[in-house]
C-alpha cells in the first residue's frame, strides 16, 4: 500500500549522497519479544537486573570466541570508504547508518571496557560505558542493519558490519532484550517446523492444491509430495514458498524441474523451512537447533541428497555453515554437493539438455536480475568463482529471450540489499524498509526507462516479499517481482525430454 512514507523521485542515474540528517531514524524501534519468545530460545524472558555488567561480560565472551570481532573493533582507521555504501544511509541520511558509525556504537563500549586507553582516559578515547542511552542506540541502529555486507566489500580492511550487528543482537538477547519478529518466528520454526507456522495438515492441503492447479493448467500431472520416505531428493524451501506470491510460482517450477529430470523428491513436514533466523540474531546455538531439523528429516526420510529452494540468507547458512553446524552428511550420497541449490540443479539439467524449454513463453517479459545480498557476498554456486552471479543469469537467459542487467555498481558483489533482510521484514520498520529500497528501486527504474524492463527476478523469499510491498511506494508495480523458477516454470515443456 503506497501510504504516507515519502519517497524521492527516481532518476535511474547514480544516486547522490544525501545531506546528513542526524537523528533522522533515532526513534525507529522494532517490537520487543514477549517473555515466552525469549525463554523458548534459552534467553532471559525479561531484561535482567544487572544487565549492564552481563552485557559487558557477554561482549567479552564474544571477543574471545570470535577473533574477527576483536579485529573489527581494533582495526578501523576511519578512512571513510564505507560511509556512502549502506542503502539505509543513502535512503535516510541518518549518519548513524554510515557503517563506521554503526560500528562505533559497539566500539565505544569496547574501548571503555577492553582497552587500556579507554579505561584510563575515556574522554580522550571517546570511550563510553554501557548505559540506557547506549542500549537504546543499539536497539534502534543494530536493527537498521540488514547484515548485507555491502560495506565490507569497500572496507580496505574487510570489516564486516553484519558480524558486529549479529554480535550486538546476541548481547541484547543474552540480557533479555529480544526482537519480536525474529524470536517469535524462531519459536514457530522450532515448534512447528517452519517460520509461518504451517502445520502438516495445512501443508499437505497446500501441496495438494499446487498439484491440482498445475495439472489443470498443463494437463500433465506433476507430483508435489510430502514425507515420502526413500525419495532421491529432500527439498528444503523457505516456507513463504507455501504461502505467498510470487514465491509459490517458483516452487511450482521446482516440481516441474524434478519431474523433467525424472528424480523423485519430497518435502518434509518436520523440516519445512530453509530460512534460519538464528543467523540474524547471531545465536549459533539457535541456528544449529533450526538447521538440525533438516539433518534429522534427511536422515529419517532416507533421501540421497538435499536440494534447497530460493532463499538468500539460508543459502549462506547452508553453503557456508551446515558442514560444521550439522555435518558430516555421511549418510547422503557423496556424489552430490550438500546442499545443492535448486539453481545448480536446474542449470545442470539445462546444460545436459535434460529439459525442453520454450523461451517464447516468457516473451512478454523483459527481465533483470536482483542479486540477493547473502548469495552474492557470502556464498558461491557451482564450480566457478562468480557462479552465484552467473548461474541464475544463465538460467534466466535459457528461459527468456529478453534479459538486461542493471547498473554494474548495483549488481553482483556490489548489489544493494532489498531493504528488508537481516530480520527487518516487519511492518513496524516499514519506514526504514521503504527508504532502504531506494538504491535498488533507482537502478531498476533506470533499466525500466532504458530497456523497458518489466520483470525483476530473484532467488530470495525475503527480497520477493519486501519488493512486492515497497516498490509501489516508488510507483513501480508489485507484479514486477518474479521468482527465477517462476520463469523456468513458464518455459518448461512438460514431457519434452527424458531428463537425467
Amino acid at each position: 500500500m503506497a501510504g504516507k512514507i515519502e519517497t524521492p523521485p527516481l532518476t535511474g542515474d547514480k544516486l547522490p549522497i544525501p545531506p546528513v540528517s542526524p537523528g533522522a531514524m533515532a526513534n525507529l524501534s522494532p517490537n520487543r519479544a514477549a517473555e515466552g519468545h525469549n525463554t523458548f530460545l534459552n534467553f532471559p524472558g525479561v531484561r535482567v537486573g544487572d544487565w549492564k555488567e552481563k552485557a559487558v561480560e557477554k561482549m567479552g565472551d564474544l571477543l574471545d570466541k570470535y577473533k574477527s570481532l576483536r579485529v573489527f573493533m581494533d582495526i578501523c582507521v576511519k578512512c571513510g570508504s564505507c560511509t556512502d555504501k549502506c542503502h539505509y544511509f543513502l535512503g535516510t541520511g541518518d549518519p548513524n547508518n554510515m557503517p563506521v558509525a554503526r560500528q562505533e556504537l559497539m566500539r565505544k563500549v569496547y574501548r571503555k571496557e577492553f582497552t587500556l586507553g579507554g579505561k584510563l582516559f575515556p574522554g580522550l578515547s571517546r570511550a563510553e560505558e554501557m548505559s540506557e542511552d547506549v542500549l537504546a542506540q543499539w536497539w534502534s541502529y543494530y536493527h537498521q542493519c540488514s547484515q548485507c555486507r555491502r560495506c565490507s566489500v569497500y572496507c580496505p580492511y574487510g570489516i564486516d558490519t553484519a558480524e558486529i550487528s549479529m554480535a550486538a543482537r546476541e548481547i541484547m538477547d543474552s540480557v533479555g532484550v529480544g526482537q519480536k519478529y525474529c524470536n517469535e518466528i524462531l519459536g514457530k520454526v522450532l515448534e512447528i517446523g517452519n517460520n509461518l507456522g504451517i502445520n502438516p495438515h495445512a501443508l499437505a492441503n497446500t501441496l495438494e492444491f499446487v498439484e491440482e492447479e498445475q495439472e489443470e493448467e498443463s494437463q500433465v500431472k506433476v507430483r508435489y509430495p510430502m514425507d515420502e520416505s526413500g525419495a532421491d531428493v529432500l527439498l528444503i524451501a523457505p516456507s513463504a514458498d507455501f504461502f505467498s506470491s510470487p514465491h509459490i510460482e517458483g516452487f511450482t517450477g521446482y516440481g516441474k524441474i524434478f519431474h523433467e529430470a525424472g528424480v523423485s523428491w519430497t518435502v518434509s513436514s518436520y523440516a519445512s523451512e530453509f530460512a534460519n533466523f538464528g543467523m540474524f540474531i547471531g545465536s549459533y546455538d539457535t541456528m544449529r537447533r533450526v538447521a538440525e531439523r533438516i539433518r534429522e528429516a534427511a536422515h529419517d526420510l532416507k533421501v540421497k541428497r538435499i536440494v534447497v529452494g530460493e532463499c538468500g540468507h539460508a543459502w549462506r547458512v547452508g553453503y557456508s555453515f551446515w558442514n560444521t553446524l550439522i555435518g558430516p552428511f555421511d549418510f547422503l550420497d557423496p556424489s552430490y554437493r550438500t546442499p545443492t541449490h535448486i539453481c545448480e540443479f536446474t542449470w545442470d539439467l539445462i546444460q545436459r539438455d535434460g529439459v525442453k524449454l520454450d523461451k517464447s513463453a516468457n516473451d512478454e517479459r523483459v527481465v533483470t536480475f536482483h542479486d540477493s545480498c547473502n548469495v552474492s557476498r557470502a556464498s558461491r554456486m557451482g564450480d566457478m568463482p562468480g557462479g552465484q552471479y552467473d548461474i541464475p543469469r544463465n538460467i534466466i537467459k535459457a528461459v527468456c529471450n529478453h534479459f538486461v542487467d542493471m547498473d554494474e555498481e548495483t549488481i553482483k558483489e556490489a548489489t544493494y540489499c532489498c531493504g528488508g533482510g537481516g530480520g527487518l521484514l516487519t511492518d513496524e520498520l516499514m519506514d526504514l524498509r521503504v527508504k532502504g529500497a531506494l538504491p535498488r528501486a533507482n537502478a531498476l527504474h533506470g533499466v525500466m526507462e532504458s530497456h523497458g524492463v518489466n520483470t525483476m527476478a530473484m532467488i530470495c523469499a525475503i527480497c520477493k516479499a519486501q519488493f512486492t510491498k515497497v516498490l509501489p511506494y516508488y510507483h513501480i508495480p508489485m507484479d514486477m517481482v518474479a521468482s527465477v523458477h517462476q520463469l523456468v516454470s513458464s518455459a518448461v515443456v512438460l514431457g519434452g525430454k527424458k531428463g537425467v
Binding site: 517452519n194 509461518l196 499446487v210 504461502f243 506470491s245 514465491h247 513496524e428
Partner: protein, 110 residues
C-alpha cells in the same frame, strides 16, 4: 494492547490483531476495518468468511493462490487474482484481511 467496543474490552497484539480468535464477531470486524480505512462490502465479507472457514479447518491462513481461487469461484473468474484482492484490501490480503477476520498476523518472509 487493547480496544473497547460496545462496552467490551478486546486484547490485541502490538499491531492490533486480536489475541483471542473467539472475541471476533461482525461488529469487531467492522470496527477493525474502519481502523484500517476499509469499507466492508459483500466482496470484502466473502474474503473474511473464507479466511475464517479455512482457519477453522487448518489453523493457519491459506496460501494466497488458494484464497484467490476460492474468491474467483464465488465472485467470478475475473475476481480470482491477487490484483483484485489488493483492490479490496490495499494493505495486503494476507495481513490486512487476516486482521479484519480476527486471525493472527501471518509472519515470516511475507
Amino acid at each position: 494492547m487493547a480496544f473497547e467496543l460496545n462496552g467490551k474490552k478486546y486484547e490485541t497484539d502490538e499491531d492490533g490483531y486480536l489475541l483471542n480468535l473467539d472475541d471476533w464477531d461482525k461488529d469487531v470486524a467492522n470496527f477493525l476495518a474502519q481502523q484500517e480505512g476499509v469499507d466492508m462490502t459483500e466482496a470484502h465479507w466473502e474474503v473474511v468468511d473464507f479466511l475464517r472457514e479455512y482457519y477453522d479447518e487448518y489453523k493457519i491462513a491459506p496460501m494466497i493462490r488458494i484464497l484467490t481461487k476460492a474468491i474467483g469461484k464465488k465472485l467470478g473468474p475475473d475476481k480470482g487474482n491477487t490484483k483484485y484482492l489488493y483492490e479490496l484490501y490495499p494493505g495486503g490480503p494476507a495481513k490486512q484481511a487476516c486482521k479484519i477476520a480476527g486471525l493472527p498476523k501471518p509472519t515470516g518472509c511475507v
